[in-house]
Symmetry: D2
Subunit: 142 residues, 4 copies
């Protein structure tokens, strides 16, 4: 992402095109809902191949969503970025029909962006916080 | 995993059966190579659907492997476990033909196991460290 | 801390007595302001011996405050606790007259409490976020 | 630290001078033993004011040592640096006569250095691993 698009809709459109080039995000079928002004939101419908042997969403799926939510929140203020590190805390079994991840920039520095993200498991109208993450996202130098 | 199997081969066999129940690990096609005496090793052949828009292995794939390597190293000494939290540092672009993750128990406490894991990208005979993780794995209470 | 005191004031009083037994917290001269219902607040007047060679508050001081803020927020809901691990992100130089740390329980589980904390540097009326932390605090078994 | 000194002894000497400008490290009385070729070592004699209410070394002391060990290992290859973030896992009660922290650079990138550190508690000839850390240290731009 070179120049930041002028509207939230244009930014989301660009992100969706970028996601199509990412085999893994396509395989997960994660849907970007928001990527603007330091915030991101992603939705993922749960299905059998995203679970693990205890029956709830696999930690790797939750990690991938949290990582994406952090990177996209950072990208909304910094353009092309790459995840440098993240810490993920699992807060409870991720049972439900879908996962929703929300990222939020805490601080955007010259070289690094610090981002916080929550992952929620939803069933009908219920929503439960199942993981929280703290990430360092690096700007890609040109 | 209830009773710990008596040999490394029996442990690996049990792990492979457990993995078949995990939709996500099956989808990744991660192969357990070792799960014994506090150590684990996993191999993953890279393929287009495991990459991202910069062309190298997606962080979510690396995260999932690191998480699994930590959990399996812990399982080898503690039976049924669940990942509590992990910190993942990306060290360079994960380009190559396959990823290899190696986990190692640092300390097995009564309730928690602290595990370190490395993820390597391999191409032919070359091997490069691309990520390192530190995790807290919790014993599942009965 | 065995039985949880019945009021915020009684809890704070008990915490102050506990702090007097902690040589290091006494040496820092960190003042507990709040420890109740999953929240904590600590104030620390900055002075020359708490700085480092770049002139701002030493990372070790910020780390100690963040650790304490997390542990005390957890103690307010769980009694006797011990820090299991924490991740600390520095967000900017900690210049000012005093540091203020605020902890907040994200989830209190049966064995572990997940806590988030912010550290602020204050000068006159100005306040600036200088660090953020995510911690796992363990209940002490009896 | 601008130009890297030519010998381990000169580097250690420079570090000791730098430490004297750090009020907090002076207050802790942490002794640098090594800072060379990506490795660091620090010794700290334990004394009552470095403990906490459970009687062992305060987590803030262990965190400060781990932070310093990471920063100094990074400084040995990168000159002037600042800690960006670290994750610290406590592995057991830090009882003993002294603490020893050892840092080791895992990867030195253009802008960031990833470092691992262990903290040991020693009593007579006995040595016990009490904490392990993983840190991101940033090069200070000029």
């Amino acid at each position: 992402m070179t120049d930041t698009p002028a509207t939230p809709e244009a930014m989301l459109e660009r992100l969706k095109q970028s996601v199509q080039k990412s085999g893994f995000t396509t395989m997960l079928a994660a849907q970007p809902l928001k990527c603007w002004a330091g915030e991101s939101e992603i939705l993922l419908e749960l299905r059998p191949e995203l679970t693990q042997h205890h029956g709830f969403a696999h930690g790797g799926v939750i990690g991938a969503l949290a990582d994406n939510a952090c990177a996209w929140a950072a990208a909304s203020v910094a353009g092309d970025v790459v995840t440098s590190s993240y810490t993920l805390h699992f807060l409870g079994p991720a049972l439900g029909e879908r996962l929703r991840a929300k990222g939020r920039v805490i601080r955007a520095g010259k070289r690094q962006i610090t981002v916080q993200a929550d992952v929620l498991a939803e069933k009908g109208q219920d929503s439960k916080l199942v993981a929280t993450a703290l990430a360092t996202i690096a700007r890609v130098e040109r």
